[in-house]
Symmetry: C2
Subunit: 383 residues, 2 copies
C-alpha cells in the first residue's frame, strides 16, 4: 500500500423520503441558487418536493444545465450568484448538474478568468457551500470534490477539483431514479464500473482491502445491472445501484493504490468532438485500452478475471481475453454498444482527436506510458 491522505466530509442522507429532511441541512439564513438540468425533475415530482423543502428560504432557480455541462451556461449562473449575492447552492439532478454546480461554487469566488480553473488547473482558494440531491446515479459527484466541464465553443472537456468542493450534504433517494430511461441507467452502471476499474486494473500494490472493495463494487454492478434496467421500480435494486455508484468514486477505493484514468481522458475527447454520452465513451475505450495495455496490467487483469468473473482455467492470455470479452458482453447486455462504428463514427473523423492528443503530449495511465501514439492505437481498435 502506498502512503495516502483521505478526507471526505460529505454527509449522506440515503433512502426513500430523505428529501423531506432538506430544510434541516441548509443554513437558516442562506440565500440559495437552486440549480437543475433539462427539466426532468419537473416531471418526476422532485422539483415540487424541493420547492416544498425550500419554503421559508430565499432562493432563485437556475435550470437548463445540459449534459456535459457547458462553461458558457455555468458562467450565466455565476452572474446570478454575483448579482443576487447568493451564498448557498443546491444542485438537483445527475452528475452534470452536480459537476456544473461545483464549478459555479468555485467560479463565483474566483479571482480572474474561471476558465483557468480548467485549462491551467488554477487553485481554487474559495468556494460557495452547496448541497446536492442526486437523481441519476453514475458519476459519484455527490460524494467527491471534482467535476468535468466542457467549453462548447472550442469542444474542450476538462476536469477540475478542490477539497473545498465537497458537497456539505447529498440526499440520495433511490425512488428518484424510477423515471430514468433505460439508457441512462445503463450509462450509470458502465460509468461506476469503469470508475472502479480505473482504480483497480493497474498493477498490484499489496492493498487487499481496496482490491476486495473494488471487486465487491464490480460484482454488485454485474449482479444488479440487468435487473436495474428491466425493473424500473425495484427499490432495493435501485438503492444498491445508487450506493455502488457513490462508493465507486468517493476516494475510498483509490486510497493507497495506483490509478489509471486514461479511459476517462480519452473518452472525454469522444464526448467533446462527437457528443457521445460519457458512459458510452468509456464502454468503447476500456476494452481497447485493456487489450493494448495487457502486459502492463497482466497481474490485475488475471485477478479481475478470477475474482470478478470466476475465470480460472486456460493460459494467462486466454484468461485475460475472456475477462475482457465478458466485460464487453456485460456492457452489451445493458444495451450499450462498444464500437465507435456503431455510433456512425468513421476512422477519418478521429484525425482532430489524434491531433489534439499529439499537441498536448499527455502521458496517461498508471505508468504514464499511454502516449499520444498509443492512444491512436487504442482508438483505432475501437472500430
Amino acid at each position: 500500500m502506498n502512503n495516502f491522505d483521505y478526507y471526505n466530509p460529505v454527509k449522506i442522507l440515503f433512502g426513500e423520503g430523505k428529501i423531506d429532511q432538506l430544510s434541516n441541512e441548509i443554513p437558516k439564513d442562506a440565500k440559495i441558487l437552486f440549480t437543475y438540468g433539462g427539466g426532468s425533475i419537473k416531471k418526476n415530482g422532485v422539483y415540487d418536493k424541493v420547492k416544498s423543502g425550500l419554503k421559508g428560504f430565499k432562493f432563485f432557480e437556475f435550470g437548463g444545465i445540459e449534459p456535459n455541462p457547458h462553461f458558457e451556461t455555468l458562467m450565466k449562473a455565476v452572474e446570478i450568484v454575483k448579482t443576487e449575492k447568493i451564498d448557498f447552492l443546491l444542485a438537483v439532478g445527475g452528475g452534470s448538474v452536480l459537476d456544473g454546480t461545483k464549478f459555479i461554487a468555485a467560479a463565483s469566488l474566483f479571482d480572474g478568468d474561471p476558465w483557468n480553473i480548467l485549462e491551467k488547473g488554477a487553485k481554487v482558494n474559495n468556494a460557495l457551500p452547496f448541497g446536492t440531491i442526486l437523481t441519476l446515479p453514475a458519476t459519484g459527484s455527490e460524494m467527491n470534490s471534482g467535476g468535468v466541464i466542457t467549453k462548447a465553443s472550442t469542444k474542450v472537456k476538462l476536469p477540475f477539483g478542490s477539497p473545498l468542493l465537497f458537497p456539505k450534504f447529498s440526499i440520495l433517494d433511490p425512488t428518484t431514479t424510477y423515471s430514468l430511461p433505460a439508457n441512462q441507467i445503463a450509462n450509470g452502471i458502465v460509468d461506476a464500473f469503469i470508475h472502479t476499474t480505473e482504480q483497480y486494473l493497474t498493477y498490484p500494490s499489496n492493498s487487499p482491502i481496496q482490491d476486495r472493495f473494488a471487486e465487491g463494487i464490480l460484482k454488485t454492478l454485474i449482479e444488479i445491472g440487468p435487473q436495474a434496467i428491466a425493473n424500473t421500480e425495484d427499490y432495493q435494486t435501485r438503492a444498491n445501484f445508487m450506493w455502488s455508484c457513490t462508493m465507486a468514486l468517493n476516494g475510498l477505493i483509490g486510497t493507497g493504490v495506483p490509478s489509471d484514468w486514461a479511459t476517462h481522458m480519452i473518452g472525454h475527447e469522444l464526448t467533446a468532438f462527437f457528443g457521445l454520452d460519457h458512459g458510452v465513451t468509456l464502454a468503447i475505450v476500456l476494452p481497447a485500452l485493456l487489450r493494448e495495455m495487457k502486459d502492463d496490467k497482466r497481474e490485475k487483469l488475471l485477478q479481475f478475471g478470477k475474482n470478478v468473473w470466476g475465470i480460472e482455467n486456460g493460459t494467462e492470455d486466454n484468461r485475460i481475453d475472456e475477462a475482457i470479452i465478458r466485460t464487453v458482453s456485460f456492457f452489451n447486455s445493458l444495451g450499450v454498444k462498444t464500437k465507435l462504428s456503431a455510433y456512425g463514427i468513421t476512422l477519418d473523423q478521429l484525425t482532430p482527436v489524434f491531433e489534439r492528443f499529439q499537441s498536448r503530449q499527455w502521458k496517461l495511465g498508471e505508468r504514464k506510458n499511454i502516449t499520444p501514439n498509443r492512444i491512436e492505437v487504442i482508438l483505432k481498435n475501437c472500430f
Copy 2:
C-alpha cells in the same frame, strides 16, 4: 438496504513518516494537551517524534491512561484542561488512549457530572477538538466518534458517542506497530474481526456492497493475521492490518444494515469484572453467541461460511457449525484462547455478571431478543 445517514469527516494521514506532518494539522495558536498511555511510546520513538512535531506549540502532557481507560483517571485530565485552558487534545496510542481522550474532549465542556454521558447517555453538546496518532490498530477509534470508558470503583464499563467526537485528523503510521507484543496484535485482529461480524452476522437486508466490504475485511484479516504476528517488521502486512481495523469500525460497513453488538456488550462485563483484554472477551463470547443465536442468524451464517471460509458442502447446520469452528480455530491460531476456563474463571464467579444483566434488563442483538436469560446461556457456553 435500510435508510441511513452517513457522515465521517476524519482526515486520515496514512503511511510511514506521516507523523512528520503533525504540525500542519494542529491550529497554530492551539494550547494542547498531549495524552498517552503507559509509556510504550517512550520506548518506540513515537514520543520523541511527537515532541519534535509539537515544537513551537504550547503543550502539556498527560500520560498514564490505562487499558480500558478509567473515568477516574480521565477526570484528572479534565482538571488540567480547565486549569490550563487547553483548547486542543492530541491522543497518541491505541484505542484506550483515543477513547479516553474523546471522553476528556466531551467531559471538559460538559455541564454537570460527566459520568452522566456514560450512565445516562446524556447528550454531548460541546467538545474540544482533537487529533490522534494511532499506535495500536484494533478499535477503529481513530476514525469514529465513539468510545468505551470504565469506572474502576464500581467496575462499570459503558460506551458513549457523539458526532462532535470525530478526530479532526488521525495519523496512521504502520511502523509504530513494530514494537507491539504479539498478544496485542492478536487482540487487534480479533477486535477488528468482531467489529465486522457485529455489523454482518445479523439477517439479510439486501445490501451487497456492505456485505462484500465486510467479507473483504474478514478475508483480509484471516489472510494477514498469522503474518502480522509472526513478522514484526513486515510493513505491508502491518499497513493492511491497520487499514482493516479502521475500515471495520468507521461506520461505512454499518450503513443501511442491521447490527448486533451483543458480543461487545457481554464482553465489556467480562473486562469490567475480570480485567480480561477486550479482544479476548470478544473471542470468548462470539462463538457461544453464534451457537445460541444460530437460527436467527442462519442465512448470514451460511453466507459467512461460503464467502469467507469457502464452505459449500454439507447440511445447513453442518456448514454453520464448521464456520464457527473455523472462526474459533483462527482465533486460537493467533494465540487467543476462547474459553473462560482458559483464563482461570469459574462458573460461580459469573453470578455478579448475571445479576447485573438481570438488573439492567437490556435486550441486545439485531432483533433485541438477547435477553438476560439468554445471556446466561451464552456465558455458560463459554466454558
